[in-house]
Symmetry: C2
Subunit: 237 residues, 2 copies
């Protein structure tokens, strides 16, 4: 049976070998939820950048610039980090350069894996269906918050572990911890997360609607994957 | 109110400032359970070493040498990593040089904190009673397994968070995750941990009796603290 593991923080990525591994990058609030929404709503591609200045430089090449630092939209950028911003008709077919506090850093640390997939609750079943079929072992990389683990990414990882229980074997304690937390949270994820540090941080930014949306499973059936430095949704991967 | 945080792996210690912080180091299976037992049973002091050869060199200075690598006693060492080994009458009043795969490394990374305390389920109430009174913020450092988080150290951290709920405020998501896991585990900790990676590893070494003992709260009321490079149990700290 293939194995499944969870890296609870990008700062622990040195412990994991991504060769022969399907990596799922997750930053529920809100980078990977935005990326999923954007690609589901017809955006052509998203190029992730760990550094803010590298994303900004893409403006000259016709890209829309998007992302946040510390939960807030960056001055001079076209788009922020709310999934609702990515539903605009005028963005269809366009390319986006994207950078966020944690999510794009997690993607950068996953380079080298044969598959890098973007996961969120919004496309949970699409991710799980693909992982069921992949020949590779599975690693879910939680973006966390500035190196520390967070609850929302961990419970997403736990949902994937739980849904793959018959096809992928948790290889150490992080996937088991994530699975336990998901099972505790699943009946009321918004309630479970109401004391979490990032939800508190975002509540100060008054975006409760974003939080509820990002915690709603299966709004879209897209599977964003990294191909030649860009996130796209190929018809087959 | 003072704050409480949990570092789920020594490999994340660069994220934490231990100045003005009471650090509790925990390696339930089995380093800090052994240390607690040893000091409760009359051993004079324990000197922790991250490196095996440094511990072994203390033999010439009259120390007993103790510890493990990969869960097994090291060849040439006087004592292994089972708490029952530390109950011997002939060890009373003696000094021990101690090294383990994870526990002593976690102590080494906590140097600089004004208080470094050894925690285990065996002395849970003694730890909590002290933390209730300390003027410092609190950080629980989980030894984990070779950089990865483990369940047994995390649920111990969660027990401390839960017992201090009225006096210390969880400052980010790791203490909340630990608290949730502890609350799920507390009715049957041995059962909860039976699929954990380290319990499986130790079951192969046939030490179920150790595991049950290490998960039994409040066998001893000692509070081991680091003083001048040695763990001791001063009458007041």
């Amino acid at each position: 049976m293939k194995t499944i593991d969870v890296c609870v923080s990008p700062d622990l990525m040195h412990l994991y070998d991504v060769k022969n591994t399907a990596v799922v990058v997750v930053d529920i609030l809100r980078a990977t939820s935005c990326m999923t929404t954007a690609l589901a709503c017809g955006i052509a591609s998203i190029r992730p950048f760990a550094k803010l200045e590298d994303a900004l430089a893409m403006k000259k090449k016709g890209y829309f610039t998007a992302g946040e630092r510390n939960g807030e939209k960056v001055s001079g950028f076209d788009l922020g980090n709310s999934p609702f911003e990515y539903m605009r008709d005028d963005l269809k077919g366009k390319k986006i350069a994207f950078t966020t506090t944690n999510g794009t850093q997690a993607i950068a640390k996953s380079i080298g894996a044969p598959e890098i997939i973007i996961g969120s609750f919004l496309n949970l079943d699409a991710v799980v269906d693909h992982l069921r079929k992949t020949p590779h072992n599975i690693l879910i990389v939680c973006a966390g918050w500035k190196g520390k683990m967070n609850l929302e990414d961990t419970i997403f990882a736990g949902a994937v572990v739980e849904l793959l229980v018959n096809v992928a074997n948790p290889i150490c304690d992080a996937p088991l911890a994530a699975q336990h937390l998901y099972n505790q949270a699943k009946a009321d994820m918004v309630g479970f997360l109401k004391n979490s540090s990032h939800v508190k941080r975002l509540n100060r930014l008054d975006i409760h609607k974003d939080i509820e949306f990002c915690l709603t499973p299966n709004q879209y059936c897209v599977l964003p994957v990294l191909r030649d430095d860009e996130l796209v949704t190929p018809s087959n991967i």
